[in-house]
């Protein structure tokens, strides 16, 4: 009986003339099957949501920029190639390291520190140096990889 409807046992035959019992059994079986299907569906939705949550994390990066790039970023909110800039952008992983690069490249007081919040999934694709210039970790992102970045001002 428990294998209905997969097995050949027919509740109508098993219950004999007691049709009410057979009907009740079939209804109970269908309800149980539907409950299991709904539970499986909920489990799949939960797994999907958990996966989305992990993938939607945000990584904050830091960059020292000169006055022209700072102005451009504040106007557009997007990274762009400047007249002498590279096809992508280098970032530090901490504000302190960004400031260290800013000091070396532009001199004290000649730069601002901006932040870029990028999806962790995208950031994991950036070229990364675990140590650059004896300062600290650095990453390089192509401009198209930064299209979804949210730009902010750190300092």
């Amino acid at each position: 009986m428990a294998c209905y409807p997969a097995c050949s046992t027919d509740p109508d035959a098993a219950f004999g003339p007691n049709r009410a019992a057979a009907t009740s059994y079939k209804k109970g079986y269908e309800i149980s099957a539907n409950v299991i299907l709904v539970a499986e569906g909920l489990l799949r939705i939960g797994t999907w949501i958990a996966g989305r949550g992990a993938a939607s994390g945000v990584t904050r990066l830091y960059r020292a920029v000169g006055p022209a790039e700072f102005e451009q970023l504040m106007k557009t909110g997007k990274f762009a190639a400047g007249p002498n800039s590279l096809g992508g952008k280098f970032f530090a992983e901490t504000a302190e390291h960004a400031a260290a690069w800013g000091e070396k490249m532009m001199g004290t007081g000649n730069f601002r520190i901006i932040t870029a919040d990028v999806p962790t999934r995208a950031a994991s694709q950036f070229m990364r140096w675990s140590r650059l210039d004896a300062i600290g970790p650095a990453v390089h992102a192509e401009l198209e990889q930064l299209e979804g970045a949210i730009v902010g001002v750190f300092k």
Binding site: G87, W129, H140
Partner: protein, 91 residues
């Protein structure tokens, strides 16, 4: 700073659209140094142009860098991220 010759890769070779236009250009260098791993211990170089883009004064961005790598006739590559953009020969 050392005098160097710079060959910019063409766009067809995977390089930049055109050489940088400013007086100074900073990016990461990759040396043929068997003792070094450029992705775990990389160094930025500064190129200062005074005329054409095929010659520059070159030096490291930071004093902690291994200066011996910039010796005469040594060749190294410039990278923008994973993209090789130039080959440099110290003169």
């Amino acid at each position: 700073m050392k005098r160097a010759r710079v060959r910019w890769l063409t766009k067809a070779e995977g390089g930049r659209d055109e050489p940088p236009t400013g007086e100074q250009y900073v990016t990461v260098a990759r040396f043929q140094d068997p003792a070094g791993d450029w992705s775990s211990d990389g160094w930025s170089v500064v190129l200062r142009f005074s005329g054409d883009r095929q010659h520059a004064e070159v030096g490291f961005l930071v004093p902690e860098a291994p200066e011996h790598l910039l010796r005469e006739r040594i060749e190294f590559e410039l990278y923008e991220g994973a993209k090789k953009v130039a080959e440099v020969t110290v003169l």
